[in-house]
């Protein structure tokens, strides 16, 4: 009778123990009240020390949650009770891991902030005139994305729009993405033609590519006065060209993604943009979006969506398209970065010189 044994005790050296039957001990206790009092005090003392330890760890956990935790606190409590020695060790390991992961997360958040700062947000106003009808949106899947887009004006006359997707995820992809973005901006400003610019950027990226990363890219350089557009698709999902009153176009890939091959050649196409024509750039985050049933949105459904939407304003178009895709995905967690950019061409925005 009595409380079941709470542990197994095994001799590690020759062990000599005194065994006292419960009955004898109880009789002894009733005849010697000082003994019982001593037992109670021992138990009380144990509780006090134990409670102190539990209290300490409770506070420590709270501090961990509130990002308040200093690992040096654990030095103060070096196994207050032998019974808690293992626990203290495990707790310390856990605390160290939590602090480390938090530092890593903060680092990732900083990297994400740097990366996001590379993406343009403001409207473009050539010569201070009415803003171009252009809108871009990126919804990263995790903290750090591999998708990128860009838009800027060359000599206030030619609009450059780019979209791309870097292989991989996380910090390596983000770093490569910033390299791609920078190389392109530089090359597009320095080189005479689009294919030369992309080739120059490509060679820069291949040269410094230990991780063997690559990036798909679509780039268009559009003369905003004449509507002449030079485009190049390097392995990227085919953008849409939507023309009111006329059939839509897809600009399919003609060249290798960037970063793969030194001295690669890039093939450009020339097309005309007329008033009201829209070019819609997107990444496979849209076609690859999964819903809770594991169903893929798919390129076919995306095509139907794009053809059905009104192309009057870039911002409305992008928000409607991405909105429908995210609605499809609903509760399912986002698998990949989702990026979309739309530009609607209006020639009479630009005031001709003279």
């Amino acid at each position: 009778m009595g409380v079941p044994r709470t542990a197994t005790i095994e001799a590690t050296n020759p062990l000599r123990v005194l065994r006292i039957d419960n009955g004898d001990l109880q009789k002894f206790g009733s005849e010697n009240p000082r003994f019982l009092a001593a037992v109670m005090m021992q138990v009380g003392h144990r509780f006090q020390t134990f409670n102190q330890a539990v209290g300490f760890y409770s506070n420590a956990l709270r501090a961990l949650r509130q990002h308040d935790f200093d690992l040096r606190l654990l030095e103060d409590l070096k196994a207050p009770l032998p019974e808690l020695a293992d626990f203290t060790k495990s707790f310390r390991q856990l605390a160290e891991e939590i602090v480390e992961r938090r530092a890593h997360r903060e680092e990732m958040a900083s990297a994400a902030a740097i990366q996001r700062s590379m993406l343009p947000l403001a409207a473009l106003r050539p010569r201070g005139d009415t803003a171009l009808d252009l809108f871009a949106l990126m919804l990263p899947a995790g903290d750090i994305g591999g998708d990128f887009y860009d838009y800027f004006l060359l000599e206030d006359r030619r609009l450059v729009i780019t979209i791309g997707d870097v292989s991989g995820k996380g910090i390596p992809a983000a770093l490569f993405m910033t390299a791609v973005q920078t190389a392109l901006r530089l090359a597009l400003r320095q080189q005479q033609t689009l294919d030369a610019a992309i080739a120059a950027a490509n060679d820069l990226l291949v040269a410094n590519n230990d991780e063997e990363m690559f990036a798909t890219l679509f780039c268009a350089v559009i003369d905003i006065a004449s509507g002449v557009a030079v485009v190049c698709n390097c392995g990227h999902p085919a953008p849409f060209v939507l023309r009111p009153g006329r059939g839509p176009d897809r600009i399919t890939s003609s060249s290798l993604p960037l970063g793969l091959q030194l001295d690669a050649r890039f093939k450009t196409e020339t097309m005309m943009m007329r008033n009201g024509d829209m070019i819609f750039l997107w990444t496979d985050g849209l076609s690859d979006a999964l819903n809770t049933a594991g169903e893929r949105y798919g390129e076919q459904r995306l095509e139907q969506l794009v053809f059905a939407l009104s192309t009057e304003r870039a911002r409305d178009f992008v928000l409607a398209a991405t909105g429908l895709v995210t609605e499809f995905a609903s509760e399912a967690s986002q698998f990949d970065d989702l990026t979309a950019l739309a530009f609607v061409y209006h020639p009479n925005i630009v005031d001709p010189v003279g």
Binding site: T8, E10, L15, V17, I20
Partner: protein, 84 residues
Amino acid sequence: MTKKNTAYTHLQFDIPASDIAAILHSHPLFAETDLAALTELLGRARLLTLHPGEVLLRQGEASDAAYIVIEGSASVRIETTMAG
């Protein structure tokens, strides 16, 4: 129900009872109790010797006695259920 374990050696007091009483008396649990009463208690106690590896008591068994270590060392092992 006491298990009959042939590993236990019943060496009834090869150590004088008064010595054991003195050892007990040095422990906080027994410090306030007079020696005479302790010696009387020891008359009803048994002194056991275990070899390394022998189990004194097992987790889950009914507890029917108190054990006081006089000499030597032992490991304490607690089995818990893993958190799911």
